[in-house]
Amino acid sequence: MSTGERLQAIDLRRVRAVSGMRRWWSRLPRGTRFAVLAVVAVLLYLLPVLNPPIITTPDSDFATVLFTVTTYCLAALGLNVVVGMAGLLDLGYVGFYAVGAYSVAMFASPSSSIATKYPWLVCVPIAIALSMIAGAILGGPTLRLRGDYLAIVTLGFGEIVRLSAVNSPGLGAAAGITSIPHPPGALNGQPIFSVLDAKPYYWLGLTLVFVVVALVRNIENSRVGRSWLAIREDEDAAELMGVPTFKFKLWAFAIGAAVGGLSGAMFAGKQGFVSPDSFPVLTSVLFLAAVVVGGAGNRLGVIVGAIAVAYLPERFRGFQNSRYMIFGLALILMSIFRPQGLIPNRRREVELADRKLDEVGVEVNA
């Protein structure tokens, strides 16, 4: 009896220690919390204007890098719905990012094969819709597969998307599609979204990140989000509790794909040019790494992960030649020493604390 209580006490201490920050935060008065968040938001918007030393990137344009970070944040948020919340392993997420970017390119660019020349803003919903459809097309036949099979099939999907773009003259083949229009808007006769100033793109991207975070949060705290979590924890039990698991897994795929498509559309609108080169398998791995490094299932965590993956390499360009290798080593070290991610999911944290307890057993056993 005493041992049990002791173990339980240790466990609780652990949980408390890791969630101390969170507890402190949740105990702050509502007004204070709001004020802190507002200040942080303003600071975030001002980042490329302030160019704070140490944080700023010395070797490439800070605003452009920040914009790239926001596209990664969006992608990671979307992938998190699939991997972190519904627990479905997707190694081909770049495919949806590509579908989004190509949708914008095809419908907006005068040099594409269909050349409908819709403005960027019209193309964004099209991009989201097409990405969702792509998600449903991939998910429909494959979601019944078990985890690892799903992983290789999604990886194949990402490659099919890329290779189809490379080999289809209608999609611009390897040359890609140029002259994609930028987002609209003008100020004093000058377009807001110009070629030269990346700041407006960053602001737009940051705003979208906030919007997506809010929307994902809405879904997470709903019947749909609970269903995802239930599926992740125990799919059979979920089904037996009346959760139509297939339908909600398909939704997870579609929503994840939609956010990925949005991210791709942003990328295309800034870059003005898409080609298959921007969508290799490794980018999928990078997105997945952002989700896992940050802490799967936690919105703030995956954003931190996306920043780590997209910002740090630009900040430390001095390590150009060895950055892949450092990245690889970092993934191993992270897995060993912080498997729950930098900012873990509240739920995962408990799970891991629990696993630690079982370690007593593992040592004896293994």
């Binding site: 990245f327 191993i332 897995s335 060993i336 498997p339 799970e351 630690k356």
Partner: protein
């Protein structure tokens, strides 16, 4: 279509050759999966390191333009093969020790294993790129290409015969090892039921290490055959081959040794026939579409899963 029919046997022989190499690499995925139910994403690098060991051995011992006697060539090939197997075997064990064992001790979630294996894959491949070379590196090919027989008007080359034969010998050897020896039974026992295996006195950690090692040895063999077929290697040579071999393993039924063979051959053939039909640039698309279609109808691959249940 006409081209496919006209060259059916040539495409078949090249497809089988390619498939045999896929199959050998696929064994590594399937072995580890059979025992741990995890994808060893770093297996592609196990193969890559083996090809470098083969290259170093041959560079040190063989002259590029050598026309040495048959016996010497066989001796050199065996030496290079041993070197490649040592290289791959060590790498496989290294991956097990660095990227898997610590996580097993911590009872980490499955996704984390995948991430750490991906990390190991990137780190190993990049380390070779940085410290050795990012270029394509030539490897001396010892066997002079020669047509050994003509089958239905298509020429079969000596190297093709060697690759298919060597692969089959290695696979039969592994199959027999797994089926007939005490250690092999240990591997199957852990794959079928870890607890009961422990009750038989099987040391799980040792069996898992052995599984990685066996997969590494097969990949080392594949690496030698690959360098002899194509005469080159590169720091990232494992990436695409690894994906293909993994696809082959899943196609045949992951965790199933014979499935790996079947999956490899089916994939090799499908790629070649598909390339002939719709153009070589669609080769990978053909491979992945085939995978998706087969999994839709047989969700656990052609032969189904499990190292144990399908009797190795």
């Amino acid at each position: 279509m006409k081209f496919l029919i006209d060259n059916f046997w040539t495409l078949t022989s090249t497809g089988l050759t390619q498939g045999a190499i896929y199959a050998l690499i696929a064994l590594g995925y399937t072995l580890v999966y059979g025992v741990l139910q995890l994808i060893n994403f770093a297996h592609s690098e196990v193969f890559m390191v083996g090809s470098f060991f083969a290259m170093w051995t041959l560079n040190a011992l063989a002259s590029h333009e050598g026309h040495a006697g048959a016996l010497l060539i066989i001796g050199l090939l065996v030496l290079a093969g041993i070197a490649a197997m040592i290289g791959s075997g060590i790498t496989a064990l290294f991956v097990e020790f660095i990227a898997y064992r610590p996580l097993r001790r911590r009872n980490a979630p499955r996704l984390v294993f995948l991430i750490s294996a991906i990390g190991a894959s990137i780190a190993i491949s990049e380390a070779f790129g940085i410290f050795i070379s990012r270029n394509i590196l030539p490897v001396p090919q010892l066997v002079q290409p020669k047509v050994v027989l003509t089958l239905f008007g298509s020429q079969i080359y000596n190297m093709q015969v060697i690759i298919v034969a060597a692969s089959i010998v290695m696979m039969v050897g592994l199959d027999q090892f797994i089926r007939r020896t005490r250690l092999g039974r240990g591997v199957r026992a852990v794959a079928q039921d870890q607890d009961t295996a422990a009750l038989m006195g099987v040391n799980k950690d040792r069996v898992i290490a052995l599984t990685f090692l066996l997969g590494g040895l097969m990949a080392g063999g594949a690496a030698l055959l690959y360098t002899q077929q194509f005469g080159l290697t590169r720091f990232n040579v494992g990436f695409l081959l690894g994906i293909k071999a993994f696809t082959a393993a899943v196609l045949g039924g992951i965790g199933n040794l014979r499935g790996a063979l079947l999956g490899g051959l089916v994939l090799g053939l499908a790629e070649n026939y598909g390339s002939a039909l719709v153009g070589s640039q669609w080769r990978d698309v053909v491979a992945f579409v085939l995978l998706i279609v087969i999994l839709m109808f047989r969700p656990t691959g052609i032969l189904g899963e499990s190292l144990g249940k399908a009797r190795a």
